[in-house]
């Protein structure tokens, strides 16, 4: 396989780091200039990521070694199909989220906006670092940086409740990664003598060199427990707790940086650390698939009972993330493709949903689902986008979410795992149960006459006219909703990349 040495990965990562400094030093003096840096950095970053795409589509791998600190401890980048897939997704959604954040933060008159945008930019740098990392050490490094720099975002409101949520956030993420993931990295190095990713899995030859099956199983379990960002039960409860954050942060957590990094690292561990062959031989894929199935169903059931919109979305995320894990755990070509596609499809759907939740909060100050009756008449664009996002989550054609479910379904047949089909069907029904009532209430129920939020003035003209959030918020959410539809009709680039990943991982089937 061809490899190119290029400095582009470094540029991609440093773009938003440079932006961090500019944002910090501009500060509150000139808000417009500060926001300009965010937007500029997001656009430049996306351009550089896209510039790597043609080479990757040609089957080349872009590599760059930054520094080799000690044997096994090298900061190196390796952009392959899977990496660029995630990098494109995250850097594109950053652009949208940036606009939305600016709108949200200004409408809500939030404090400490400089800190907010600084941390945001660092989080994106680190996400790019994970996407393009060339070995498990680099992955771990950036994984930790994401945790640390999103902590101030989650704690943003600085109320006791926010601090408590943030504490749970960091306890779960940092705790599991140090206790389990780091151990797994050590053991991997002990077993394989290297941490560099390879398409067949870096532990692929470990069995021949005398590493016992139990040892490998322990490593695998430690990885899965250590990647709490993927929110596999029972390591999921940080995610609902982190809902105390401002809504753009939730969008960042759920669609762009944090949980996507989690599932991305899981995919990476399955395909590039262990490899399809090894996991099939050990039978660990099936075990993981059933753990993920459990999470899918249980999280969906919990989501049904939530009245707070963001919490319901959070549990929905927990369940949807496990789709990605389920797909890749089935270890068959279609399932892996479906799982990778689900990363992007869920991202578009979920970011739309969180954007709408934020828009509802900004425009109507409503957070509970029971308050949303009739809101579709006041906020038609927002609620239309919400509907599209919800339908994509449920997986109804012609929305993107259908594609990944279809592939995962086929994949489970390929793997002879019929019960998985039942899980898919069951969870689709549950998804419909917790999303459609919101849509129904928003469009078809009459608004209740409640004044419990002290918005007496809005009551007077609630019968007529639009009460949308600012355009800078509505436009991004409409765009992402359109994206969720467009991905059904034009999934080409992403699907090509997913196929390339599958081909390299399964050895050319």
């Amino acid at each position: 396989m061809d490899t190119i040495t290029s400095i582009t990965p470094i540029i991609v990562i440093s773009t938003s780091l440079v932006a961090t400094f500019l944002i910090f030093f501009t500060g509150e003096r000139s808000k417009n200039l500060r926001e300009t840096w965010t937007i500029l950095a997001s656009l430049i970053k996306f351009a550089f990521v896209v510039s790597m795409l043609p080479a990757v589509l040609d089957g080349k791998i872009i590599e760059f070694t930054l520094i080799s600190i000690a044997p096994g401890l090298t900061i190196a980048f390796r952009v392959d199909a899977l990496g660029i897939f995630f990098a494109i997704l995250a850097s594109f959604l950053w652009i949208v989220t940036s606009f939305y954040s600016i709108g949200y933060m200004r409408s809500m008159n939030e404090h400490a906006q400089t800190r907010y945008f600084c941390c945001f930019a660092i989080a994106l740098s680190a996400t790019m670092g994970v996407a393009m990392s060339g070995n498990m050490f680099t992955t771990f490094l950036f994984y930790e940086i994401i945790t640390l720099c999103t902590y101030p975002l989650v704690a943003h409101k600085q109320t006791p409740e926010a601090l408590q949520g943030a504490r749970r956030y960091i306890t779960y993420l940092l705790g599991t990664s140090i206790a389990f993931q780091l151990t797994a990295v050590f053991l991997t190095y002990t077993a394989a003598g290297t941490l560099d990713f390879s398409n067949q899995g870096l532990l692929n030859n470990a069995r021949e060199s005398g590493v016992s099956d139990i040892f490998l199983t322990i490593i695998f379990v430690l990885y899965m427990a250590g990647i709490a960002k993927a929110a596999i039960m029972p390591f999921h409860s940080w995610l609902p707790a982190a809902m105390v954050a401002p809504t753009p942060v939730s969008a960042l957590l759920h669609a762009v940086a944090v949980v996507k990094t989690g599932v991305f690292v899981v995919v990476k561990v399955v395909l590039h650390v262990f490899g399809v062959n090894l996991l099939t031989e050990l039978g660990l894929g099936t075990a993981l698939a059933y753990t993920a199935s459990f999470t899918i169903i249980v999280a969906s059931v919990i989501a049904l009972k939530q009245d707070n919109l963001k919490r319901r979305l959070a549990y929905s995320t927990v369940s949807q993330l496990s789709y990605v894990i389920l797909g890749v755990a089935l270890l068959t070509p279609s399932a892996i493709a479906g799982s990778i596609m689900h990363i992007v499809l869920h991202a578009f759907g979920k970011i739309t949903l969180f954007f709408t939740a934020g828009a509802i909060y900004v425009a109507a100050h409503k957070t509970e689902i029971s308050q949303l009756d009739g809101i579709g008449k006041k906020m038609p664009f927002t609620m239309a986008a919400f509907t599209l996002g919800a339908l994509s989550m449920i997986g109804i054609p012609p929305l993107g979410g259908f594609i990944s479910k279809w592939y995962i379904g086929i994949g489970s047949l390929e793997a002879n795992q019929l019960p998985i089909i039942l899980v898919l069907v069951g969870s689709t029904i549950l998804n419909a149960c917790y999303f459609l009532p919101i849509v129904y209430a928003a469009f078809f129920k009459e608004a209740k006459h409640d004044d419990n939020h002290g918005h007496g003035h809005s009551h007077s003209h609630s019968k007529h006219g639009l009460e949308e959030a600012p355009a800078i918020m509505v436009i991004p959410l409409v765009l992402t909703a359109i994206g969720a539809v467009a991905l059904f009709f034009l999934p080409s680039v992403f699907l090509d990349l997913a196929r390339m990943v599958v081909i390299s991982a399964t050895g050319g089937n």
Binding site: I67, L73, I178
Partner: protein, 494 residues
């Protein structure tokens, strides 16, 4: 010159420490530049020594021209050279920091003597490192300890009591060490380390030698505050002046660890140390207990300096654990951790001193919004804290990496678990503080104006910044440090 550097590095601070008193009595303001200049020259000399060792091999200097084993030998190999650089660099940075902090915390008439004793302490520590003679080592150990007692005692109101504790424990440790030296002298008739290395293997069956070894280990364990012999440390380091806490926390235990390594792997052969008695097995478990105990106690503290002192107890556990597993990776980790921990401790105690300087207290519950007043200091605090937790790419990660590798290679799975557990507890301890500083709303509702930026003076801020940046730099150059110095210091047979 290169040969003489190894003796000049102790001769200069010793001489200046004495000169300090007459000069200071004439003009007190001269003491500070004199001390800074002296320690700077030590840094220069230590670099000369390290350069010589790396390029031309070990240094052996015969004091007064007398041949060892009759004369006194100054023997320097890669391990000493490495330690010399650390200790002299730290003493230089601390001496810069000292001025404002000391003037704030001490009575004016004590300042001259502070500098005098400080240089004496530096002399003692560097002397321990350069000497090639077990008895000389004891002498320097006592110089350093006595100077340390004095420096701790000039601290807060409770300091004298803490010092009393410290003196008793320290003296017991020194006695044990001296007994070990005496026993070896009885059976071999020599005190020169190289000579002992040559003579001892024939005598390994002797009960006297075994007893001497046990005395050495326990004596040094008291000096480095290895759990459960740590009881003197938290009090002493909490109540000492901030500058002193920073310096002794960073150097005393590290030099003690050096002595332990010297005795265990140079005076005695690694083969003997690892196999004759279950010493390393015991040390490993004791060290694990130290890691856990230190961290638990750290979590329970509300006084910042006291918390750091308990973390130091845990860190000593790391160093000893790495040595005890008896393989190359573990040893490398220990020696690297000596450097990292010494720099991290200096940074953290510097920050504690800065908070004392500006706020007049160090209660961690009462630090809210400090990041607005002292943004640079708090930024440095975060770097040091993250390094202490062991998050890459800070220095702390790399030594932990080697330590854990050592434990894995030795199949000591419990040690691996304890190491990770204690990292987690350190993380909890520091995030508690960081949360208090950055996110806890201020309790005083009376004033709602924005806190004004109010950093410590430049002579304190600069050392803080230098130390925390060096934590990042060391992280990236860990590989080179290991290649050029540490790997040559690993005992044969590992």
């Amino acid at each position: 010159m290169n040969e003489q550097a190894s003796i000049l590095i102790i001769a200069i601070p010793l001489l200046v420490s004495v000169l300090n008193i007459p000069i200071g009595l004439l003009k007190r303001s001269l003491c500070y530049p004199l001390t800074v200049f002296t320690t700077l020259s030590c840094v220069y000399l230590s670099f000369v020594i390290a350069d010589t060792v790396i390029n031309t091999g070990n240094i052996s200097y015969h004091v007064g021209g007398w041949e060892p084993p009759w004369g006194i030998e100054v023997a320097i190999d890669h391990l000493n050279a490495y330690m010399l650089v650390i200790i002299s660099f730290v003493s230089f940075v601390v001496s810069i920091y000292a001025k404002n902090s000391i003037e704030k915390e001490l009575l004016p008439d004590r300042i001259i003597y502070f500098y005098t004793i400080y240089l004496l302490l530096v002399t003692g520590l560097l002397g321990i490192l350069v000497t090639g003679d077990l008895f000389n080592l004891f002498v320097f150990l006592e110089i350093a300890s006595l100077a340390g007692y004095a420096l701790v005692a000039i601290g807060e109101d409770k300091a004298p009591l803490a010092t009393f504790n410290y003196i008793i424990m320290g003296t017991i440790g020194a006695c044990f060490y001296l007994l070990g030296v005496g026993y070896l002298y009885i059976v071999t008739g020599t005190l020169n380390i190289a000579d002992l290395t040559r003579l001892l293997p024939a005598l390994y069956h002797s009960k006297v030698v075994l007893a001497a070894f046990a005395f050495f280990v326990v004596g040094v364990a008291i000096k480095i505050a290895l759990f459960p012999l740590h009881t003197w440390l938290p009090d002493a380091y909490t109540h000492a002046p901030s500058t002193v806490s920073a310096f002794v926390a960073a150097t005393m235990t590290k030099v003690g660890a050096y002595v332990m390594i010297r005795v265990m792997f140079t005076v005695f052969e690694p083969n003997f140390t690892l196999n004759a008695l279950p010493t390393t097995e015991i040390l490993g478990w004791v060290a694990s207990a130290a890691m856990i105990f230190g961290c638990i106690m750290a979590l329970a503290q509300t006084d910042l300096k006291r918390m750091l002192a308990y973390i130091l107890v845990a860190e000593v556990g790391y160093i000893v654990m790495g040595v005890s597993v008896g393989n190359r990776a573990g040893f490398t980790g220990s020696v690297l951790h000596i450097l990292n921990d010494s720099f991290m401790m200096v940074s953290l105690f510097f920050v504690a001193g800065a908070i004392m300087y500006k706020e007049g207290h160090r209660n961690i519950k009462n630090l809210s919004n400090l990041h607005k007043k002292m943004p640079v200091t708090m930024g440095c605090f975060i770097i040091a804290a993250i390094s202490m937790v062991g998050v890459p790419p800070t220095a702390g990660f790399f030594s932990k990496w080697y330590l854990i590798h050592g434990a894995i290679n030795a199949q000591k799975w419990f040690f691996v678990a304890f190491l990770l557990l204690s990292s987690l507890m350190v993380a909890a301890a520091f995030f508690r503080i960081i949360q208090n500083i950055f996110f806890q709303p201020s309790e005083s509702h009376t004033t709602h104006e924005e806190p004004v930026r109010d950093e410590v003076p430049c002579s304190m801020l600069l050392p803080i910044v230098v130390m925390s940046i060096s934590l990042l730099v060391i992280g990236f150059f860990s590989g080179q440090i290991i290649d050029s110095l540490i790997q040559h210091a690993v005992p044969k047979g590992f």
